[in-house]
């Protein structure tokens, strides 16, 4: 079947099998390998992308479901002006090690901050509780999201 998906702002029309998973559409058909997969059961969260502005686990969404919809991936976070504040914060505060869970964490973190610009530590922990990191023990991820909140507020105040 033919589907047309707006990915990171650009319309992409692709011929796919109905069973193709969204994560494979992104990775194998569109070359957007920043979105990873780590399990088969929607438990690990390395595959999180935005679907119509909301984070979903793309290993458990069919590419066909995205026909006519918008998908945003980690590749869209940085702009010509540089890194998104959440990316910068992850770098400043060592919020990543092997980098495998990072794209999903960034996408969820960005979404959380868009909805809740000043989240508490507990709110951050709950927000990422469907995403597993095996390296960081989460502390620096939590700290990075907090720092991004502060960074965004500083930038917001300047704007």
């Amino acid at each position: 079947m033919q589907i047309t998906v707006t990915v990171n702002g650009a319309e992409r029309t692709v011929e796919v099998e109905p069973r193709l998973l969204l994560v494979h559409l992104l990775r194998d058909h569109l070359g957007l390998t920043g979105t990873h997969w780590g399990c088969d059961t929607s438990n690990c969260g390395t595959c999180v992308v935005w679907f119509d502005g909301t984070p979903v686990k793309s290993c458990t969404v069919l590419a066909a479901m995205a026909d006519g919809h918008e998908v945003r991936t980690v590749e869209d976070l940085a702009t010509a002006d540089g890194l998104d504040p959440i990316q910068q914060a992850f770098s400043d505060h060592h919020g990543l090690q092997c980098g495998f869970c990072t794209p999903g964490m960034l996408m969820t973190g960005r979404w959380l901050l868009d909805r809740n610009p000043d989240p508490s530590e507990q709110e951050i922990r709950e927000a990422i509780s469907g995403q597993v990191c095996r390296c960081t023990g989460y502390q620096n991820i939590v700290r990075s999201v907090r720092a991004a909140a502060e960074l965004s507020q500083v930038k917001g105040a300047r704007a």
């Binding site: 957007l32 992850f90 990543l96 090690q97 980098g99 469907g130 990191c133 023990g137 989460y138």
Partner: protein
Amino acid sequence: MSAGIDSITAAATTPRGYGPMRRKEDARFLRGKGHYLDDIRLPGMLHGAILRSPYAHAWITAIDTSAAEAHPKVHAVITGETLAGLGLAWMPTLSHDVQAVLATDKVRFQGQEVAFVVAEDRYAARDALGLIDVEYEPLTPVVDARKSLDPDAPLIRDDITGRTDNHIFDWEAGDAAATDEVFARADVVSSCDMVYPRTHPAPMETCGSIASMDPVTGKLTVYTTTQAPHAHRTVYALVAGLPEHKIQIISPDIGGGFGNKVGIYPGYVCAVVGSIVTGAPVKWVEDRSENLMSTSFARDYHMHGEIAATKDGTILGVRVKVLADHGAFNGTAQPSKMPAGLFHVFTGSYDLQAAHCAVTGVYTNKAPGGVAYACSFRITEAVYLIERLVDVLATDQGWDPAELRMNNLIRAEQFPYTTATGWEYDSGDYPQTLRLALQMVGYEELRREQAARRAAFERGEASELMGIGLSFFTEAVGAGPRKHMDILGLGMADGAELRVHPTGKAVLRLSCKSQGQGHETTFAQIVAEELGISPDDIEVVQGDTDQTPFGLGTYGSRSTPVSGAAAAVVARKVRERARIVAAAMLEVSPADLEWSKGSFHVKGDPSASKAMAEIAMAAHSDLELPEGVEGHLDATCVYNPPNLTYPCGGYVCVVDVDPGTGQVKVRRFVAVDDCGVRINPMVVEGQVHGGLADGIGMALMEVMAFDTDGNHLGASFMDYLLPTAVECPSWELGETVTPSPHHPIGAKGVGESATVGSPPAVVNAVLDAIGVRHADMPLTPAQVWRAMQGRPLRTDLAIG
């Protein structure tokens, strides 16, 4: 000595050496531009998938692949029979056993590899697996390790001529007679049976491989998720009889390893054969169930420990018997001469008069493996054993576990200290480290709170209990001295090569391979510290055997102790070459030069100086050099560690337990680590954080249990639970620094310290809360509740 709750943030500017520094590798990971195995697509690449056994133990009576072969997208179906024709049906393990690549006779664990399909895409490859018809004749499996040596236990390894039982090895360390003597005169003896159940490293990225055999040049290129690319190359050469100079192993970005990515798995060999058969590159990547079922489990030690002490609280000795479940093939990755790895550091951090352990390894119908999951070659098991035993002794005698530890720790002045099992601990100040941990957590105050809480609970005024758990660990990392340690005959020394370009920028080539540890940054910092140039000007190359010198890879926390030492040594070699060049430039004798970070100057005349960049250009120029001195500054070295390094740590965990449900909440976790000199303290903290989360996982939720048919009950992330951000507290870290006396920069390695040290602290805290002497991990709500009823579960078997 310092303490603080907040983690370290990168410095605003790049340090010219050690210090908190943003990681160079982050730039690509943050943008989704990492380059992991499954991101790689080679032209014409095909995809492999493995058909696995549903049975734990069964004869294969027939395999019909015709329907799969008829699938329009299938290029090849490979079975054990195909491989037998090539002499590849069996491969050597890292422990002098053999393992089936694809089963030819029978299957010996659920999930064992039976057939390999090569197809045009991964979906078709999966579909074709369903078209293969395998007939099995099920056999009774050996599931419970404790029954594996029963006279009537089914024989698992009938492939080995002359074998009549499931026994693999007996191994001892320490002095049995001296230990018995110590126990005979001890005032008090405590003993405990404990299981360190089978767990899995479960990195977020599963294992995989892309093999590409060039039929024209005969060159085999293997992209693979390996922590040890050079070891893989040599093993491929030995297994497949391929010339080693025609094999290139490329380990791309790795999404976590933790020991899961040390060994060579059947799937890798199948990908190679698939590429030879089809003439195209073949990719094989595990799904998560395959990862959990078949590759590199960890632990599975059934331990009986005894601890002897005087009535005034001096620990005299420890005696241990271990039954080690190695699964269906003995495939543990550890130094050849040590079938139980470094388990004989079970004497821990205490000054003992005698100790002895006897370890028996057995086969069961489970996946092969054993040494993985950041375990430092079985030190995880050893530390758990001793730290539980100390707590059991304290419980039995009504002693305070902190005081008991403090009174028995090896004292600073005793280093170097030779343990009762023969290890020479290099350095440490254990009492200082433990004291800092107790001070940071506010131990006395917590004990008062606990007493008040317990009293309130008994009056019905509080609904939760609290517990405080300690552990003190000594790690032994940086394997290892060549005379003592090898893997498959390969000595555990690491090479390093440093090139300094004419403009003073450098390239460091290393044999080890980061799986997230940040080598590109920290090893650049080591060279920066030695040469005084910016880490930003030093590129670290790793993971490609055609580009890097030989060495055994990254596991057992060995990168900093071995490759890190090599980096420092090779940088010092470069610096000495630079001295000669600088002397020629300044027209003085090399001996007249003094090094101040980044430049040589003439003694007594700081103005007559040459910076590294100037020296580098001159070294490549027409500058006349003394007779016999070659140009350029490049250098190589091989570092053979004289001893292991011995990081240590004192950990305190505080938990709240809901006795009505058995639920545990980790309230606080204080970790004071001494890993010697810290190159990038921010990265060190990150390593510790990750290991502490592992401890939460193992202590509270992670386990691979098996039912009586040998079915794996943790074969997905729905059943094999990893801790999330919600279960983890905000870690509180502290540090003490006793540099390793024999390491060039005094560093000790830290990658596994927290994974090793944290589980007993969590377990001790939970058991302290509920007033139970022992219950096996994981302390799930069910296990906590059952322990409180006096009927703890056997966690390695199905809950029935």
